[in-house]
């Protein structure tokens, strides 16, 4: 049996649209907090009960609506954590809380230079042999050589060219069996070529545009289980054809903020 997966989550007590820092956010399109709560509890229930993930919970903070998106807390490998340095000042206010949580849990916290923006597991994802780092929208490409050094990994920077897919985890999801669920037009031609070169055609699962825009790629994969936003039948089919069990969950309240299943979790260890 595989080691149990630990995920960091943060309840949406103060989740709302307070500012607009991506094309999904509209101040006029306010969050229905009850629905958001229901959706979040359903997500955590599936993660804990069906997938068997062990959940670590962070205390929500009033005035930090996006603290719920723990994928952007930083990157954690083993006992090492590199906290995020947000590009937008609106989210920089979350940094001390994420950092405090890492320290509190006994992680060795390594900080990047203040002038390098890097938005954590939202932009850094990978397979066991190589990691991919999204840049241009939120994270600075110059963060990756330093992160590669810290974690002793090869990190291949890939340019994100569509502001709707502003984090790597909105258009790129490595699966446990070595397959990649992704939406190629979110990347520039060089990054598309590199991804094709690295990952054989039989392992690349291309998500159709309509489902990419529902954040089909913002999925959580633990062993052969995949949790993804509801309303992505093609993606579900692609996954099931590869032997994955899918768990679609309605998360549309979070789409108002430009986030979904994956954004709401951070893989620990």
């Amino acid at each position: 049996m595989e080691a149990m997966s630990r995920l960091l989550v943060c309840a949406p007590d103060y989740f709302r649209i307070d500012y607009e820092i991506n094309p999904w956010m509209r101040l006029s399109n306010s969050v229905v907090l009850d629905r958001a709560r229901t959706q979040w509890y359903e997500l955590t229930r599936v993660l804990a009960m069906k997938i068997g993930a062990s959940l670590e919970r962070m205390q929500p903070v009033p005035g930090l609506p996006d603290l719920v998106f723990t994928a952007n807390a930083g990157v954690v490998v083993g006992q090492r954590a590199v906290p995020s340095r947000f590009r937008h000042p609106e989210r920089r206010r979350e940094e001390p809380y994420f950092e405090a949580w890492f320290l509190d849990q006994g992680y060795e916290v390594i900080k990047l230079d203040k002038d390098l923006s890097f938005e954590g597991a939202g932009d850094l994802l990978g397979f066991p042999d190589a990691w991919f780092g999204g840049y241009r929208q939120r994270s600075d490409i110059r963060a990756y050589p330093r992160l590669g050094e810290i974690f002793g990994r090869q990190i291949i920077p890939v340019e994100l060219v569509d502001s709707r897919f502003y984090h790597l985890d909105t258009c790129f999801c490595p699966l446990s069996g070595g397959e990649l669920l992704y939406y190629p037009p979110a990347f520039d031609p060089y990054a598309q070529a590199v991804i094709s070169d690295r990952i054989g055609q039989d392992r690349r699962l291309v998500v159709p545009e309509s489902e990419a825009l529902r954040f089909a790629c913002n999925a959580v994969c633990v062993a052969k289980q995949v949790v993804l936003p509801a309303g992505c039948p093609e993606t579900t089919k692609l996954l099931e054809a590869r032997g994955y069990e899918t768990h679609p969950i309605p998360l549309d309240e979070y789409m108002k903020s430009g986030g979904s299943a994956k954004c709401l979790t951070l893989a620990l260890d």
């Binding site: 490409i141 110059r142 060089y190």
Partner: protein
């Protein structure tokens, strides 16, 4: 025109990720050029690679646009520092770690700004004015105590030459010097340049001067008529020579001999070896070559043509000189300074049949000035070609044949 440039550094997994390719493509697509200075490839999968890229563009505006476009891909401008300056410890003495120049366009960074060093000259130092706003090359001997001299290597950049746009002999790297190569097309190209430059001069251009550094073999070998015609026709504007060229040229006029040999018959005449001494003595008695020409004593030949046409002549003496003639500079440092002062505006240099004057002139000239070196001894053009300039052409041939052919190309009818 000197292109503007900036050095950027790219770090990380830049090869596998095609980031390096993307950055280089971007530079070229935007109309810039690049030089890949250093590429260190990581030796393991985890180890990052590093590339240093010199980005060039035709204007600072375009350069800024390119830098802005490649910056998000991690190409950051290398941290630059100002050049270091130290006061000269004494007259005629550089600080110990002075920067020695090349013959290529050079810029130094002063208070965050890149400043062009002028004029370009190799093997000298760089002196900066008190206000730190301008920089000039300075020979060792001319340094004054307390002058601010550039030291070390930081904050200094040397701009490699671009290939000239003209499609002629100077646009190809003609580094090899060989007696076996056909000369006709080279001489025709040189003639074409001279024609263009003279046309420019006629329409009032300050630049476009043609410099000739010449040795006395021109007279002995029979190139005097052709050269006289070239000067009279306005193709030569500056002449560097020694005592001998002038002496034998005027000897030819006064006695019909060159070093005692009858030029028309080609044989020694009785007491002919005295002719050049008598010539020198005669001119010394008159006081100057100019007076000798203006008073009608010397009416034809190279020196007469120079006086008539107002050609700037620098005569530099050597230790074997007889006389010397009035006007010959016997102090080499002063001669060098006079030659240096005559260089502004020179756009083409012909170094013909003179090892000493050719090498001395070559040392003073920026690499940007197209240069032709003609000598029967391959060592001289070879030495010049070794300067590594795109625009240096060496011809192993007889000086008189060269000048006659050149003059004929330009319309001389002997």
């Amino acid at each position: 025109m000197t292109p503007v440039q900036e050095t950027v550094v790219l770090k990380g997994h830049i090869i596998d990720s095609l980031i390096l390719a993307k950055v280089l493509d971007t530079i070229v697509m935007m109309g810039g050029t690049f030089d890949l200075k250093e590429v260190q490839i990581g030796t393991t999968r985890e180890e990052p690679s590093r590339a240093k890229i010199v980005v060039r563009a035709t204007s600072s505006g375009l350069l800024a646009e390119i830098l802005q476009a490649i910056q998000p891909h991690g190409a950051s401008v290398e941290r630059e520092s100002d050049c270091m300056l130290e006061p000269a410890p004494a007259d005629g003495l550089f600080p110990e770690t002075f920067y020695a120049t090349t013959h290529l366009p050079t810029q130094i960074r002063l208070q965050g700004r890149w400043i062009e060093v002028e004029p370009i000259e190799m093997d000298v130092g760089i002196r900066v004015d008190r206000g730190l706003t301008s920089a000039r090359t300075v020979p060792m001997g001319e340094v004054k105590k307390g002058d601010l001299i550039v030291t070390g290597r930081e904050g200094i950049r040397v701009v490699p030459l671009e290939r000239p746009k003209e499609r002629d002999v100077f646009s190809f790297m003609e580094a090899q010097v060989s007696a076996e190569r056909p000369h006709g097309h080279i001489i025709a190209d040189v003639a074409r340049r001279m024609q263009t430059l003279r046309d420019g001069q006629k329409s009032g251009s300050k630049d476009g001067k043609v410099l000739l550094a010449a040795g006395p073999a021109i007279i002995h070998a029979g190139g005097r008529d052709a050269l006289t015609w070239l000067i009279d026709s306005g193709f030569i504007h500056v002449l560097f020579c020694g005592n001998a060229l002038a002496a034998h040229d005027m000897e030819a006029h006064l006695y019909g001999t060159s070093l005692g040999y009858r030029l028309s018959a080609g044989r020694a005449v009785p007491h002919g070896h005295e002719h050049h001494l008598r010539t020198i003595n005669r001119i010394r008695a008159i006081g100057s070559i100019e007076k000798a020409v203006k008073s009608g004593v010397i009416t034809d030949g190279i020196m007469a043509a120079c006086v008539r046409r107002g050609v700037q002549v620098v005569m530099a003496g050597t230790i074997r000189d007889d006389g010397p003639l009035p006007g010959v500079l016997t102090d080499s440092v002063k001669a060098q300074a006079a030659m240096r002062a005559a260089l502004p505006g020179v756009s083409l240099a012909l170094l013909v049949a003179s090892t000493l004057h050719a090498v001395a002139t070559g040392n003073l000239l920026p690499a940007t000035v197209p240069t032709v070196c003609v000598d029967v001894n391959p060592a001289v053009p070879t030495k010049l070609a070794d300067r590594g300039s795109f625009q240096a052409v060496g011809l192993v041939m007889d000086a008189a044949s060269f000048l006659r052919e050149l003059a004929r190309e330009l319309g001389w009818k002997p």
